[in-house]
């Protein structure tokens, strides 16, 4: 479990993390989502005590990370930036970390096998591909059988099979009752793995809700209706708090009523419906909507004259 309260970090005059408060609960996968440069990695560094917060506080399993007698049993972390000496073999890297906690060599072998690095464990980490490096980082994170797992962009550089493997792993870990905290800048990835989402932009909290809730909020109860008597239906459903947009002849978008309510109204008036579909925006769209104003590096838009 991770509890952040008013977490703030300034680098010089730039505020990287701005008053973040959130809780990462055990037993679920919590996605940590934000555009690039929004402060996700900084937040993770603050959680691990690698950087000291300018103000605010963050506790891991009830204590500051630094104060745990056996930190690798509390949190297993994979940071986005590589944290491996390029001249050392994967095996020796894990062994050196294991030895700080008095863990046996057998433990290193187990994790090397778990992440599928058995054949290359004696090779220098500098020769590893991005995907192999990620697997090594995940092995390091799981070394201490931690209560809380924190992974920064874990699917970066993994092949489709590796991505599949990570998704399995995260769900498995959460299923065992561990707190799993995973960052990503890809909503589509989070949609597949996360149960709960913490969304940030420019270091500030934008949303802290379940995946379901976020989609519902962003969708705004829009229902698409197709009917040969669309104009008539439009008059029937018109009411305070209901917005109807006519997209094309015979096609409406109704906001403010559920599909059931519209269907009942149509039936009561003998109006035939050819389509009645609740419109759900994808999580991706919801995310874009939420973070629109908080993107650090916005893509320049081509104006008509420039494009021509």
């Amino acid at each position: 479990m991770i509890e952040a309260a008013g977490l703030t970090k300034d680098y010089g005059r730039k505020r990287a993390v701005d008053g973040l408060s959130f809780t990462v609960q055990p037993g679920v996968v919590t996605g940590f989502l934000g555009p690039n440069g929004s402060g996700k990695s900084t937040t993770m560094r603050l959680i691990l005590g690698l950087d000291a917060p300018t103000s605010g506080d963050v506790l891991v399993n009830g204590k500051h990370y630094r104060d745990h007698a056996a930190p690798l049993h509390e949190v297993g972390a994979l940071l986005e930036a590589r944290s491996v000496h390029t001249g050392r073999s994967a095996y020796n890297h894990l062994l050196a970390l294991a030895q700080t906690h008095g863990l046996p060599r057998r433990r290193v072998d187990e994790l090397v096998d778990l992440v599928g690095l058995h054949d290359v464990a004696r090779k220098r980490a500098g020769q590893f591909s991005l995907g192999m490096g990620q697997r090594l980082g995940i092995a390091a994170a799981l070394l201490g059988d931690p209560h809380t797992i924190m992974l920064d962009e874990p699917v970066n550089g993994l092949d489709p099979e590796g991505i599949q493997w990570i998704r399995h792993l995260l769900k498995e870990l959460a299923g065992q009752g561990r707190a799993v905290f995973v960052s990503s800048h890809l909503m589509s990835e989070m949609a597949l793995t996360a149960d709960h989402l913490i969304v940030i932009g420019r270091g500030k909290l934008i949303a802290d809700a379940s995946v379901e809730e976020l989609v519902r909020q962003a969708s705004g109860d829009v229902v698409r209706v197709r009917s040969p008597r669309a104009a008539e239906l439009r008059d029937r459903v018109a009411d305070a708090g209901v917005t109807v947009v006519s997209l094309a002849p015979g096609l409406l978008e109704v906001q403010g009523l559920t599909a059931e309510q519209i269907g009942e109204t149509a039936a009561a008036n003998g109006i035939a419906l050819h389509e009645l579909t609740p419109q759900r925006v994808s999580l991706e769209q919801a995310f874009m909507e939420m973070t629109r104003d908080d993107v650090e590096f916005r893509t320049g838009e081509l104006t008509g004259s420039e494009a021509a």
Binding site: R45, L48, G49, L50, D51, A52, Y65, R66, H68, A69, A70, P71, L72, H73, V75, A77, L79, A81, R82, S83, V84, H85, T86, G87, R88, S89, N92, H93, L95, A96, L97, Q99, T100, H101, G102, L103, R107, E110, L111, D113, L114, V115, G116, A140, L142, G144, D145, E161, G162, Q164, W165, H168, L169, E172, L173, Q176
Partner: protein, 276 residues
């Protein structure tokens, strides 16, 4: 790697350990010897410490007949025996810097400080392991250099010196002590600077650039300053004799150890205070 897709269950860990200073030492030992650069640097240091005196002894012995009395007077058997220290200090000094800056340049420091978030145990373990390894390798090396160079010079009675002679054993051991402390000093420099190139530059400036520059100063200034700079203080540890403008071995050792302690304190403050 296809088999791993199914085998995602993390094997449980029956017993939980905790971080202790002794365990961090064990970890740093593994780290030190699992890098090729360390093994090479240490091998080079041993070869230079032993090899250079052998070379000098052989050259001196073969040219002795043709040397002027003045040249002969310049040859001291202990200087020959410890000639290698002057060169191996380069290998030890650079390796000392690398032991810590290598972690910063590769990002390993983040893994190290995540495993040991109290941080200082990592510094003490690095210093302890590196000092121990350097001393354990350099002590036999300087003794081998001494006895081997003496054996090569055995034809020349005037170049024979007994290890039992006053101060000789102390100077030979001093060579190894100097290299050990130098390693501690440069490791601390590396921890302060956090950058390989920067750390090596500061090391070179302190030990190779500043000492000759002092000769430009008026001699009264030079005499007042130069005995106390790290390079001279360190050298007096393995000198047999000392002049009016250099420190005796004891004070030299104390001063050089003091520089090391000062550098270590700064390194500790920087390590704890600054973001990693």
């Amino acid at each position: 790697m296809s088999a791993v897709t199914d085998a995602v269950a993390v094997p449980p860990l029956p017993a939980h350990g905790r971080v202790t200073q002794a365990r961090v030492v064990r970890s740093e030992w593994t780290k030190l010897f699992s890098l090729r650069s360390t093994r090479w640097s240490l091998l080079v240091a041993v070869l230079l410490t032993i090899g250079l005196p052998l070379l000098f002894a052989a050259v001196t012995s073969s040219h002795w007949g043709g040397m002027s009395p003045h040249e002969r007077a310049d040859r001291h058997p202990l200087d020959i025996a410890l000639a290698g220290v002057n060169l191996s200090q380069l290998a030890i000094g650079v390796l000392g810097v690398l032991v810590i800056t290598g972690e910063y340049s590769t990002g390993m420091i983040r893994a190290s400080l995540t495993a040991v978030p109290k941080r200082l145990p990592v510094l003490w373990a690095k210093v302890g392991v590196f000092a121990f390894v350097t001393f354990a390798l350099m002590l036999p090396s300087v003794f081998i250099a001494f006895f081997a160079s003496q054996a090569i010079l055995s034809k020349h009675d005037i170049l024979q010196i007994s290890i039992a002679h006053g101060g000789v054993a102390r100077a030979v051991v001093g060579g190894a002590v100097y290299l050990m402390l130098l390693g501690v000093f440069t490791l601390a420099l590396g921890a302060i600077v956090r950058n390989t190139a920067g750390g090596i530059a500061v090391f070179a400036a302190i030990f190779f650039v500043i000492p000759p520059l002092l000769d430009i100063l008026p001699s009264s200034w030079n005499d007042a300053i130069s005995p106390y700079i790290p390079d001279s203080a360190g050298r007096s540890i393995f000198s047999l004799t000392h002049g009016a403008h250099s420190l005796a071995p004891g004070p030299g050792l104390a001063l050089f150890a003091g520089y090391c302690a000062l550098a270590l304190v700064l390194a500790a403050i920087v390590l704890v205070r600054r973001d990693a």
